[in-house]
Amino acid sequence: MVETVLFYILAAVLLGMSLVVVTRTNPIASALAMVGAFGALAALYTLLSAPLLAVLQVLVYAGGIMVLVIFVIMLLNLHADDLKPMRPRGLVVALALLGVLGVVLGPLFLTVLPQGQWTLASLPADFGGIFSVGGKLFADYLFPFEMLSLVLLTAIVGALVLTKRKL
């Protein structure tokens, strides 16, 4: 029962905040709503027994990426008349595309999803904790993990090359 109430509250916060992100004219308002949406998403992760991901969601997304976005928005110092509100025509096109996608993919998903009860696997005690996820990461996914450091290095170099005026 508690899980049900929490799920609906968090889902409402998540969807409401994401609608604010998409509809606001001011990008700062969008960014702040995004932080709220990520907080709700982190709480949903704990409901799904993924506590490590919940912490990382707050640390990396809400704490790292969104601060970077807000920093760049403030750095550019946009004027109010540069900001364009959402165009209703674009929204109509987007909703039509999504409707077509739902009509095409919906029946496909309904055949894949189980019709009756879901059978959830029983979980070990430390499921989703730092020891189990870290063990999986460093045992089975060591090579992709090391490649990830290369990706991040490339991103740093790329960002520097793109933003530097004269190399």
Partner: protein, 105 residues
């Protein structure tokens, strides 16, 4: 109204799909570069949510490890994306996507 209770993975998957839809609508309909980037992040997070749901269904941690990878790639994407926004702003003194149409046929 019996589908409201109890919460099944289907509820989470529908939530993830709606979140992805909101993100897609943002990417398609907005002209502000920042909001487009943030809507992209919303789409990535919707996918992350379904990864975690399937990880919970199967009791298998691979889904959560994938979410870690997606978060790291999203950080790299945000870094390069914001650098591109800075470079574009230097070009036109604006972040409205309608101004960047040199490649439009």
């Amino acid at each position: 109204m019996e589908w409201l209770y109890p919460i099944t993975p289907t509820h989470y998957l529908v939530l993830s799909a709606v979140l992805f839809g909101i993100g897609t609508a943002g990417v398609i309909s907005r002209k502000n570069l920042f909001v487009v980037l943030m809507s992209l992040e919303l789409m990535l997070n919707a996918v992350n949510l379904s990864f975690v749901v399937f990880s919970r269904i199967n009791g298998e941690l691979t889904g959560q490890v994938f979410v870690l990878f997606v978060v790291a790639v999203a950080a790299a994407e945000a870094c390069v994306g914001l650098a591109i926004v800075l470079a574009l702003f230097r070009l036109k003194e604006n972040v409205n996507l309608d101004l960047f149409r040199s490649l439009k046929g």
